[in-house]
């Protein structure tokens, strides 16, 4: 398993696989909002992403941290968060 720095392309691929998106990783802009106007994800998508993250990177996103909004704000934020918290 790759334990080097998490890349945006890698996380974009995770989003695409998890949510069955019809896009290539390079098409998801790092600063584009994932929810609402940007990629148009919703909170169930967030859950599916969180479940996928725990499977691949070995840590769980918690609701009580109150940071979900920020973490899911963009691909860049999500990648940074994963990089800082992954245990595998």
């Amino acid at each position: 398993m790759d334990t080097g720095a998490t890349t945006e392309i890698e996380v974009a691929q995770l989003l695409i696989n998890t949510l069955h998106l019809d896009q290539s990783p390079g098409e998801i802009q790092p600063d584009e909002p994932l929810f609402g106007d940007g990629l148009g994800l919703d909170s169930i998508d967030a859950l599916e992403i969180a479940l996928a993250i725990s499977k691949v990177y070995g840590f769980a996103l918690k609701s009580d941290e109150g940071r979900a909004h920020q973490v899911f704000a963009s691909l860049r934020n999500l990648t940074r968060y994963i990089d800082a918290h992954r245990i595998r």
Partner: protein, 343 residues
Amino acid sequence: MTAARWAGRRERGSESLIRLMIWLSLTLGWSVGHALLYPITLYFVLMVRGGRRASRAFLHRVLGRPATHLEVFRHFFGFSCVLLDRLFLLSNRLRYFDIQVNGLNDIEGALAQSRGCILLGSHLGSFEVLRVVAQQSPVPVKILMYRGNSRPYSRLIEALDPTLAESVIEVGEPEAMLRVQECAQRGEIVSILADRAPQQDRTVTVPFLGDPAAFPAGPLILAAALGTPVVLFFGIRTGNRRYQVHFEYFADRIILDRARRAEDLASWVRRYAARLEMYARQNPFNWFNFYDFWEHRTAALQAPQTRSADAAADAVSFGDVGGSCRDVASHDRRADAASGAGG
């Protein structure tokens, strides 16, 4: 009138009335509150034209003949009674009520698996009566709901039972579904109203009482993601202060096959709609969606042909009433849905 507008109108129009009713009923008792429901209901029957029309059309559909004025009044009156009873149920004045519970084995069977449980309720009858049943539950019962523009009303109602707010997980909070997941991990019950599709939610259009109607897809997608068992809940009002609660085992696990996700989802939603239809036929005066429940059907049937060839015959839509309908299978996820599962 759309679901959202109906909700908004009721909440605004009835806030002061609700205040007055809460005070009068809880001070002077259920009988006084009940007596007041006659003039109040008459007022609403006369004033709420859209609701009246929806009631008449629904009853016609289910009874198979035009509804009488008295039946429309009875329909509205049943709704008023449920609202009144709600005050008593929430303020724990339970001695007034006769509540029979059927299918307890079904919910116990689901809980025994310790995987949590998604409980699908509806606007057929009283959802509030669940809170009474929940007091006997071995595990906490949470309610995933969309509050949106009903906040002032929610606050009034929550004042009756301070623990209510704690049990509510509000749809729309970014971490709402993470909280649901944590509840499921602890083996708790998360209940969702699964019949009404708020605007901007993912919906699936399936046959319901003779015509296609849009149902929210969120609750079942959520159950699929979590892998929890799913149980149905109906709190039918059968008379004054009398309720019959039905729990019904629905699925061990909702599985949405990756290659045929839209079809699988449509088939689960169709099953849910069929059960709701059965209970609605048996208890038409418990149907508390006082708007045209089938209003989406034209839009759904005229959905642009963006769906892939193997997509389900039923349109699975994202977006609002006026928006285009997009299929899960079309992989077009640039929908404007941001609010998550419907409540």
